[in-house]
Amino acid sequence: MTQAPFPPIAMLAELTHRCPLQCPYCSNPIDLLKADREMETERWLDVFEQVAAMGVLQVHLSGGEPTLRRDLEQFVSTLSQTGVYTNLITAGVGLAGIRLEALASAGLDHVQVSFQGANAETTARIGRHSGAHAQKLAAARHARALGLALTINAPIHRHNIAEIPDYIDLALSLGAERLEIANVQYAGWALLNRRYLLPDGASIEHQVATVEAARARLVGVLEIDFVVADHFATYPKPCMGGWGRDAFVIAPDGLVLPCHAAMTIPSLRFERFGSRPLADIWRDSPAFNAFRGTDWMLEPCRSCERRDVDWGGCRCQALALAGDAAAADPVCVRSPLHARMAMLLEETLPPSDARTGGDLIPPFAFRRIGRT
């Protein structure tokens, strides 16, 4: 890094790893932190004051389930007083009613409710929570009634990929502004369960066509954000918009991370919030500078014209699949290891085994604390 980095625009606060659901694709680490490892109220308030002063304009309050923190209203209120835009990333269980009202009056701007399925049955099966769907619907409707921006988040894998048209209807019927159709990213629990989650190629192609048609039909009515499936892509996604470029993450215990999966790169050492000012950690912590900009790149990225478009893709995926965190993300067709992506697909189950509709529960490792 030759010049000082720009200030971050966004920050993801993973307030807790606790969650009433057990999604087998959860992006949290396998080693989930218990409540006693979470930072206290005062520390998080300090985080939020510091990020606002650094120039962060958007904070994503996430988890686990962020509403399990009883001090969430205080966080929202501190952020909104400094003009920071607040996004609540929630599963929506136990949220409708006085809780959401309190958050709205604290100044919350936007609620994103995840739906594990487009119907109650799929939601219960994937999230392992039988009453969740009705509670999510109630939360979404209440957010709408309170005038908050509403996004419906649909994490897609082989067990709900057939429900995309239903997700679109769901988002429309709830009056959401946005629908996020996000193919699961294979990190954390999703990586553990990849074999049972990866959709087959035909379903992915069908999905792309469905989403594109809906987008064209719903211009000005519903914004559809589409995160394509990595395993079928030509080029990788710019993970986090580039390492240490626009955004960063703070884990429940205060570790300051360039991306939520960064802990899977064992060569990096991360600093903990409070050791020194956050602005200093952002500017010159070795973990942030390790993959910032383009100087660290190897071929083929180093001389590639897309190097400051996708920043070489995901560092964690490069490590997991290419054995080197500085390699090109093997999602990229220009990576010499791109063929490994195809091999991963072969090891997934054929479409006939997917049985998306039935009550078959694959041998998922459902997310829970203290599993390892």
Binding site: Y85, G175, V219, G220
Partner: protein
């Protein structure tokens, strides 16, 4: 309920306003005006900003065009087309309501 929301189409009479969850804010760190929206930060240019500032739900598009034509000393027609295209795009992204 907005369940049956329709796409808003720009006309001279529409009185645009920012969607209730969209905020226009000065950022002292970058010394620039930012538009904050769900999961998004946008940096409108000077003309964009002048349009967005007038999106108060009371001023009609034709009035906005008139004001901007004075301010920018421009051709009414050209400004008319620019403002219309800008607001249609922002309405289509659900940031402005017509």
């Amino acid at each position: 309920m907005t369940a049956d929301r329709r796409r808003g189409i720009v006309s001279a009479q529409s009185r645009p306003r920012l969607a209730p969850y969209v905020r226009l804010r000065f950022d002292p760190v970058r010394n620039a005006w930012a538009v904050l929206a769900p999961e998004r930060v946008l940096w409108p240019d000077a003309i964009g900003l002048d349009i967005l500032r007038r999106c108060d739900g009371k001023t009609s598009i034709s009035a906005i065009v008139r004001e901007l034509a004075c301010e920018y000393d421009g051709q009414g027609q050209e400004i008319d087309a620019d403002v219309g295209a800008f607001l249609q795009e922002w309405a289509d992204r659900l940031l402005v309501r017509l």
